[in-house]
């Protein structure tokens, strides 16, 4: 009998994750001490007061503008800036997260719909695959940091401000995995399933809705999962050249202007939490759909 069978279920399930997180935290603290050590020691030297080695170590974990903030500093700043201010205050991290989240969701929706439509046309018109696909791939090779200001400026010139330009940049990045995944999904039915449709003289629309579309659903959710994190990155990047008024991108930019490293890290934590929630939501919808479609798993 394997020994694992004797352990409680929560250890076999959660154990590996807990261990990895613990190791990462230890490494993070070690890095914080090592990276901030010179900074803190020099500060003690300048004050010309006696200090011990232990004072320096303690100082590295509690510096106001550390090179690498310690985990507890990030968590404290995160909690303070999320819950410490009213939701409409520009000092509230929740407010900035909401700004970025709304741009992400709109951009993700635009990108997903556009990506699916593109895949449908590529699958139905083989010439498009040759003529369009190279351009689609090229579009992803242009650095988004270069494109983003251009889009913001051009759209600003025709009077479009606020959420939409950011969403478009986000959509520009996130349609690609959807297109690639859906082209694969829509062509995934095997020849026999397509031959059957032909023997029943099904119309192209019937073949699409009754065969190609349902066959592509697992591919759709796999690519949506990739694409939703990319659309968050797109929305954050789009906030950098806008003058950084609001959003997680703005927090990152302002933090780096004023050397507020703790603020940068807590903004990153907020982005990570948003990404995790978005992926979990897509996973849940995907699992629900798979169950409805008779999934064996």
């Amino acid at each position: 009998m394997p020994r694992a069978a004797w352990r409680p279920a929560w250890i076999t399930e959660r154990g590996p994750v807990v261990i990895v997180v613990a190791i990462l935290l230890v490494m993070w603290y070690v890095a914080a001490v090592a990276m901030n050590f010179t900074l803190v020691r020099d500060a003690f030297e300048r004050q010309e007061t006696p200090y011990t080695f232990a004072d320096v170590i303690a100082g590295t974990l509690d510096a106001e503008r550390p090179v690498v903030p310690a985990p507890h500093q990030v968590v404290l700043d995160f909690v303070d800036s999320v819950f410490g201010y009213p939701l409409d205050s520009p000092r509230s991290l929740a407010y900035h997260a909401w700004v970025t989240l709304s741009a992400t969701v709109v951009g993700f929706a635009i990108g997903a719909v556009f990506g699916i439509l593109l895949a449908v046309s590529i699958v139905h018109m083989r010439t498009l695959e040759k003529s369009l696909l190279p351009w689609i791939i090229c579009s992803q090779m242009v650095p988004i940091l270069a494109i983003a200001p251009i889009i913001i400026v051009v759209l600003g010139a025709i009077g479009i401000h606020g959420l939409l330009p950011k969403s478009i940049i986000s959509a520009y990045l996130c349609f690609f995995p959807v297109t690639i995944g859906m082209v694969k999904g829509l062509t995934s039915p095997d020849p026999i399933q397509l031959d059957l449709m032909r023997t029943w003289s099904a119309s192209p629309a019937q073949t699409f809705w009754k065969l190609r579309w349902p066959a592509s659903v697992p591919y759709l959710f796999a690519s949506l999962k990739v694409s939703v994190t990319i659309s968050l990155v797109g929305a954050i990047v789009a906030e950098l050249p806008t003058g950084a008024q609001a959003g997680i991108g703005a927090r990152l930019l302002i933090g780096s202007y004023y050397g507020q490293t703790v603020q940068i890290w807590s903004a990153l934590l907020a982005a990570a939490i948003i990404a995790t929630i978005l992926i979990a939501m897509i996973d849940a919808v995907g699992a629900w759909t798979a169950r409805r479609m008779g999934g064996a798993a």
């Binding site: 399933q193 031959d195 032909r198 023997t199 003289s201 009754k210 349902p214 479609m293 008779g294």
Partner: protein
């Protein structure tokens, strides 16, 4: 599993419910007489491949009467599946003429004259068994009530009553193939084209399904064209056996097989059965050079 024990189907008059499209006109069928189910004259098919031309079928002449059960038998590459696919308009002959129910294969396909059963059941995994059987009916525009009635009738006919709500992966291979037969029967085509339907199943299941298929054929008066490479299966099922040979794919013998329509597995022990099986084997041997 009493085979087609839903013998109610035999007492019911055979319905010829045509799918909606096929009501207008019967094409160029010869006036007054039933057209042949399949009438192939000089049919050839040449594939262009990177290594040059491959002659899949060469000058095939074959007439299949309505109500016949005809088997194509031969080694791989003899063109038996290709011939079936030409009848089904899944391939086009490059020479010769072929008529299905007196009309072109394309017209026969568009008018839904035939049901095609592949070696794999090819059920759609996201549909329950009943919705799989209903799929061709949905496509052909049958109403919901008629769909429900037909699904129930044909699932019963293949002994799958009670499995309506199961998904394909919950059924064995043999049950899946029976569901695919119910799906092909659901729109009541006059012609059944079966491409090694039981090839992937073990012998016990295969014997059982062969008996069920014979009952079904007897009850429904359909024409069946059946591709196989099992000699006993061909002799047991058929009214005629077409022996084919590769390079190029051609017919080398057509053997009549006159057992009664309601034959049972026991006939496999009779001298007549063994004699026909020997003639099939001799045909296969003569057409195939083993020196290669």
């Amino acid at each position: 599993m009493a085979l087609a024990s839903s013998a109610t189907a035999s007492t019911r008059p055979v319905e010829r419910m045509r799918p909606p499209e096929s009501t207008q006109g019967e094409g160029s069928a010869a006036a007054g007489q039933t057209p042949l189910a399949v009438d192939a004259r000089g049919v050839s098919l040449t594939f262009q491949t990177r290594d040059g031309e491959v002659q899949a079928l060469s000058n095939v002449d074959l007439q299949i009467g309505t109500g016949d059960f005809v088997s194509f038998i031969g080694p791989s590459g003899c063109g038996k599946t290709t011939l079936l696919r030409i009848i089904a308009d899944l391939e086009r002959a490059t020479a010769g003429t072929i008529l299905v129910d007196g009309i072109s294969p394309e017209l026969a396909r568009l008018r839904r004259h035939y049901g095609y059963i592949f070696q794999a059941p090819a059920l759609y995994p996201w549909r329950t068994i009943e919705r799989n059987v209903a799929l061709p009916l949905e496509i052909m525009g049958f109403g919901a009530d008629e769909r429900r009635r037909r699904v129930a009738r044909y699932l019963k006919l293949v002994n799958l009553g009670g499995f309506e709500r199961k998904f394909p992966w919950q059924l064995s291979g043999g049950m899946q193939q029976r569901a695919s037969i119910a799906r092909a029967l659901s729109f009541d085509p006059a012609l059944l084209l079966m491409d090694e339907p039981f090839g992937a199943l073990d012998e016990i299941v295969r014997d059982h399904l062969n008996e069920q298929l014979l009952r079904l054929w007897d009850q429904t008066q359909k024409t069946v064209v059946f591709v196989t490479h099992s000699i006993p299966e061909a002799v047991f099922l058929s009214t005629r056996i077409v022996v084919m040979s590769p390079r190029p794919g051609r017919i080398i013998d057509i053997i009549p097989c006159d057992f009664p329509r309601d034959r049972t597995l026991e006939i496999r022990e009779t001298p007549e059965f063994i004699k026909i099986a020997q003639r099939v084997r001799a045909g296969l041997r003569s057409g195939h050079s083993y020196d290669e």
